[in-house]
């Protein structure tokens, strides 16, 4: 009525209000996305929306396995089949455990008995496995292999180890645009693999709350190029760089999480053991990590790197977009203590 008194029709007033609202919204979005660029933000947003609308649910398999002395291979085999992992016949398979470091009694690394079970499983399927990692803190992987029991296991399985910190380098394009880097040096072994199996420990992490199959990708970054502890890449922003690694990894991938004994509290190195009795297998690394978070009693949508990568369409984290098969998550869920810094 007030507008009409001034000579502007109600319709014109509403149009003006609508245009002002759209303009203000666009301005806010532009300002908020200035850091990464509106074009990047728009690309990620539309890709994420399309994935949520069109992609089939990601399948994640759970297997109960009470301890390392029980039938780890049997539990793994069931979950592996349920997760629809690609055919392995003749494939070059890189198995990448989390060997971040060895610190006394802390269960910070993927147990070699789970890796051993994966080696046997993929070899039986006709694949040629190698185990590979590029530890973050120490330059001498052999010392870690000895201390963690990997050296003896690998010898028994006659399986080579590739130190990703010192392997021959190739470059891969970074296609996600999540960081300022356009390309990344990676190990030739990773680039030439037919399947990459990320094998994290189910544990907490003081920067990202959990250390899952995506965070485990940091180990493929070669120390000989980026130094130790690979801070050249940390400073790109942990969620952004993890999203980029998950998006641009040039190899088919899957994950097998060692949650038989997890680690809570002061991860990634100094936490306390949690008998979780679970293995998690899947080909969508984000969905695997989101399931891992739920197994630890955390909400994956509240974890920065998962929320960001899922929003950008790198994978699925919502329970409505993850199809769980195998053992019941309700029976396997525990309440992990958060890192004291978080």
């Amino acid at each position: 009525v007030k507008a009409e008194r001034r000579g502007i029709s109600r319709r014109a007033f509403l149009r003006l209000a609508l245009l002002t609202g759209i303009g203000a919204g666009a301005g806010i979005i532009y300002k908020q996305t200035e850091l990464v660029g509106f074009d990047n933000w728009f690309r990620w947003m539309t890709r994420g929306a399309a994935a949520r609308l069109l992609d089939a649910p990601s399948q994640v398999a759970l297997a109960a396995c009470p301890d390392y002395d029980s039938d780890v291979s049997g539990a793994l085999r069931g979950a592996w089949q349920a997760a629809n992992v690609p055919d392995l016949n003749g494939a070059r398979v890189v198995i990448k455990p989390n060997l971040v470091d060895y610190v006394g009694e802390y269960p910070s690394f993927t147990d070699p008995r789970v890796v051993q079970a994966v080696i046997r499983l993929v070899r039986k399927a006709g694949a040629r496995p190698v185990v590979a990692d590029g530890p973050t803190f120490r330059r001498d992987s052999e010392a870690i292999l000895n201390a963690t029991g990997y050296a003896a296991m690998l010898k028994q399985e006659e399986t080579p180890f590739v130190d990703l910190n010192y392997d021959d380098l190739v470059t891969i394009p970074l296609q996600g645009g999540f960081t300022k880097l356009k390309s990344l040096f990676v190990s030739r072994t990773i680039r030439e693999a037919d399947l990459f199996i990320s094998m994290p420990k189910l544990k907490t992490h003081h920067w990202s709350l959990i250390s899952g199959s995506v965070k485990n990708l940091f180990g493929i970054v070669p120390g000989i190029k980026y130094g130790w502890p690979k801070n050249t890449l940390h400073i790109q922003g942990v969620p952004a760089f993890l999203a980029e690694l998950a998006y641009s990894l040039p190899t088919r991938r899957c994950a097998v999480v060692d949650g038989i004994v997890g680690m809570e509290g002061d991860g990634p190195l100094y936490g306390a053991p949690v008998p979780s009795g679970v293995l998690v297998v899947g080909t969508d690394l984000l969905a695997v990590d989101a399931t891992g978070a739920r197994l630890m009693g955390f909400d994956p949508t509240q974890i920065d790197y998962l929320a960001f990568a899922a929003w950008a369409g790198v994978g699925a984290i919502e329970s409505s977009r993850i199809e769980l098969v195998g053992a019941s998550i309700a029976n396997l869920r525990r309440t992990y203590a958060r890192p004291p810094q978080m």
Binding site: V103, F137, R138, R139, D140, E142, A143, N146, D163, Y166, H206, I224, W228, P229, N231, D266, L269, Y270, Q341
Partner: protein
């Protein structure tokens, strides 16, 4: 620091800053790790290789062995090398201890026993280079 000293720039400002930085980042129990001696309030263990490289640099600068950071680092490294089992640890340990008055004959002997049939150590050009450097100093 090593490169600047090798280029005759031992008195350069960045070298002096490097000494201050290394002393600031020294582990309380001796030696150095990849970066800060603590991570979010937790001590980070020193490593053989990081300590060895730091000691090599400090030796090139001319820091005295009695300097407390150096003395505790040399002690840490000597103790760690006595327990070392891998070619990389033995090579870097012996290399880093050179010139600080510590006998590394046992480490070098252990290292020699780990040399592969093809002449390498650990089939790695990096470890083999470190092993050769460790031997070179003893011979010179």
């Amino acid at each position: 620091m090593l490169a600047l000293c090798a280029a005759g720039q031992r008195d350069a400002e960045r070298v002096r800053a490097g000494v201050v930085y290394l002393f600031d980042r020294a582990n309380a129990r001796g030696g150095w790790t990849i970066g800060t001696p603590e991570m979010l309030g937790k001590p980070v263990s020193a490593t053989i290789q990081d300590t060895a490289v730091a000691l090599l640099a400090l030796r090139q600068v001319g820091i005295d062995v009695d300097e407390p950071h150096v003395a505790s680092a040399v002690k840490y490294l000597a103790d760690a090398v006595a327990q070392a089992q891998t070619p990389a640890e033995l090579a870097w340990g012996a290399y880093g201890l050179r010139g600080w008055g510590t006998n590394v004959d046992a480490a070098l002997s252990h290292l020699d026993n780990l040399q592969a049939g093809d002449g390498s150590w650990a089939a790695s050009p990096f470890v083999t280079a470190a092993a050769l450097l460790a031997h070179k100093e003893i011979q010179s």
